[in-house]
């Protein structure tokens, strides 16, 4: 893979799809599911069903779903706050995700963390902190563990373009380069970090240029082109898995809504969103699959129905789930069986 290749066009030139019909269909399913759940969550939020806030990733699905789809369940994922697509594709049950958003005991975090911070060790998704780029460092450590152990698992590190300005991000990338770690970094450049435009975040246009400073390939692609993401990330994962070291893939994409649901995002130019909506990754991919006769309208209808049903059940499960008991605040501070007297002494 060439260093710093700009807007790779390989995928476009391919006439035949780089995946089987079955694979293509599955991929579409996850994209659709992510979109559907995300929009439903926004609705639940407005209805007051969710707690705190909600970070939508609508418009960016390709950049999280595809890499996760291409990974193995034993590969580690270091997500940030806009990676609902990773969780859905890796298979965190919707019911637990919904419960998480409602701060219920049955959420993966048992109501402890913060909305949209999906993760859990059984999924090898590092439950994120809100501190930007921190998971990039952590997942780099996962990749180090794989290298030390001689396993062929890889790490997948997700971050926004804003997070690339963070201190720790630099240290992680640099170390991954030095140690040729098995990891793929996915930069979701959605042009905005809350209200801060990318031009105030860095004096470069293509954030993949940053990879060069660490001695490994960086590539910028159209993050709304599922096929391009597929081809690029697949190759990057293959490189990582066979010991050729890290790759950074910058996906140009766009956040349709506010930073979170309480942000009207009125700092953005009016027509920017409209332009990006035309590049919506999901209809584009749907058309591609239908053109390739890999997906039929009937398939889609069934998928929609399946997803709706699962979502409905999930919502019901979450809604009926209990909130944590107050004293559960004292759980999970230390490992089970250690220092319990210290923490629980509070109750006396």
């Amino acid at each position: 893979m060439p260093v710093n290749t700009k807007i790779a066009s390989k995928a476009k030139e391919k006439l035949s799809a780089p995946f089987s019909a079955e694979e293509g269909k599955k991929l579409y399913y996850y994209l659709l599911k992510t979109r559907t759940v995300d929009e439903a969550n926004r609705k639940f939020f407005r209805q007051g069903k969710l707690l705190g806030t909600y970070f939508s990733a609508v418009g960016q699905e390709a950049t999280t779903v595809v890499p996760t789809f291409l990974s193995r369940p034993t590969d580690a994922i270091g997500p940030s706050h806009r990676e609902i697509g990773c969780s859905i594709t890796r298979g965190i049950p919707l019911k637990n995700m919904l419960a998480h958003l409602m701060a219920k005991r049955t959420g993966m975090d048992k109501g402890k963390c913060h909305p949209c911070h999906y993760g859990g060790s059984e999924y090898r998704i590092i439950t994120p902190a809100s501190t930007m780029a921190a998971q990039t460092v952590v997942v780099t450590g996962c990749a180090l563990a794989f290298k030390i152990r001689g396993e062929d698992n890889i790490g997948l590190g997700f971050f926004g373009e804003g997070a690339t300005a963070q201190a720790g991000w630099h240290e992680a990338m640099n170390f991954a380069g030095v140690q040729k770690l098995p990891i793929v970094y996915i930069c979701q450049n959605n042009l905005w970090a809350e209200s801060v435009p990318a031009r105030l975040q860095a004096a470069i246009t293509d954030y993949s240029d940053r990879a060069k400073a660490y001695g490994f390939p960086g590539i910028t692609i159209d993050g709304n082109d599922v096929v391009q993401v597929y081809v690029t990330v697949k190759e990057a994962i293959a490189r990582a898995r066979c010991g050729e070291g890290p790759t950074m893939v910058e996906c140009k994409t766009y956040r349709w809504y506010g930073h979170s649901e309480i942000d009207p995002a009125d700092y953005r130019p009016k027509d920017e969103l409209e332009g990006w909506k035309k590049k919506d990754p999901i209809p584009r991919f749907e058309k591609y699959l239908m053109d390739q006769v890999m997906l039929t309208p009937a398939d889609k209808t069934k998928m929609v129905a399946d997803i709706e049903k699962e979502l409905e059940e999930a919502f019901e499960f979450a809604d009926k789930s209990p909130l944590p008991a107050p004293e559960e605040a004292l759980e999970d501070v230390y490992a089970p069986g250690t220092f319990e007297d210290w923490v629980k002494g509070w109750l006396k």
């Binding site: 701060a103 909305p115 902190a129 501190t131 720790g168 107050p326 605040a329 509070w346």
Partner: protein
């Protein structure tokens, strides 16, 4: 006189100081066009332009560290940390640079800056939008640590801090932003750094608190007054240097002390205040000093029942006061 909210007081202080002194500038994430995630800097960029109201990259180390350099060159930066939970990437510049440049240069450099930090819970912010972390800085000589509870103090202390030659860290409790209003003068005023204030007089027990906990303490005091217990409520306002005199004088009068702290108990500021009282007013104490704090878990679990269980409140203060009175 005019009534302002806590956050309006903060915005006004910055605006007035920027008008008064062209060396003053602000820098932080989302503070320019957006006016800050809580709107503390609303309107400032259109008044003072993008070189005095700087939208920084997502870089806390830079936000603080560049301010140290600019302060050393004679400017008066007011960097903002969007949430105190995100102060950790900036710790190196606060602790090793801002607080120590004067000392390590033998007094050659001055570092007049004010790091504004949005902090605190009771807003459902969960583990990463509720922290305060004030205790670390109280253990950092060279810094001035400010923690107001009322709009008047918020404005007066921020102005005083901006005019002060020392590196200051100024904690703003986000729960207070819009929930607390107060009348303040129309004319310029400052509140002295390093001075606590008695916010309610009382003879039976001294309650020492800061930020949101002052309000919880006053609420408790009102209720207790109905039962005939008169609490003296001290608002620390500055956490470093510590105004020992105000505390000690009060405790010498009441003989009993409660210290209220929103953060987890162990290693917090309340312990320090308790130790000072024991050291310097032991013979006046009629009962052990009690701390009302959060438990020793990461601050603050998200789900409402846990957050409520976790946070100190008026009821918990009342309980502590009664136990102390019954001792």
């Amino acid at each position: 006189m005019r009534t302002v909210t806590f956050i309006e007081a903060i915005t006004e202080a910055m605006k007035e100081e920027m008008e008064r002194d062209e060396r003053v500038y602000v820098i932080g994430e989302d503070i320019g066009i957006y006016g800050g995630v809580f709107k503390a800097t609303r309107g400032l960029q259109s008044l003072f332009g993008p070189m005095r109201v700087i939208d920084s990259p997502l870089s806390e180390n830079l936000i603080v560290g560049s301010s140290v350099g600019a302060a050393a060159m004679g400017l008066r930066p007011v960097p903002e940390i969007q949430f105190s939970d995100f102060i950790t990437p900036g710790m190196d510049q606060i602790i090793q640079q801002a607080a120590k440049l004067r000392y390590r240069s033998g007094g050659s450099f001055s570092v007049p800056l004010v790091i504004r930090v949005c902090c605190g819970g009771e807003v459902g912010g969960g583990l990463y939008h509720s922290q305060i972390n004030e205790a670390w800085f109280v253990h950092c000589p060279g810094l001035v640590v400010i923690a107001p509870a009322f709009p008047y103090d918020a404005k007066g202390l921020l102005k005083a801090a901006i005019r002060d030659e020392n590196p200051c860290i100024y904690f703003e409790h986000k729960k207070l932003y819009r929930s607390i209003k107060q009348e303040i003068p129309d004319t310029d005023f400052t509140v002295p750094l390093g001075k606590a204030e008695i916010k309610r007089k009382g003879k039976d027990v001294t309650i020492v608190a800061y930020m949101l906990m002052v309000h919880k303490s006053l609420e408790a005091a009102e209720k207790l007054a109905k039962e005939g217990i008169e609490c003296e409520v001290i608002d620390m306002r500055t956490l470093l240097p510590i105004d020992k005199e105000t505390i000690l004088e009060s405790v010498k009068k009441t003989g009993r002390a409660i210290i209220v702290q929103e953060a987890p108990k162990t290693g917090g500021v309340a312990g320090e205040l308790s130790a000072i009282i024991t050291e310097e007013a032991f013979e006046y104490l009629d009962a052990p000093i009690k701390r009302v704090t959060a438990p020793d878990t990461p601050p603050i679990p998200f789900s409402p029942p846990m957050e409520h269980f976790w946070l100190p409140n008026a009821d918990k203060i009342i309980k502590a006061v009664k136990e102390t009175m019954a001792y």
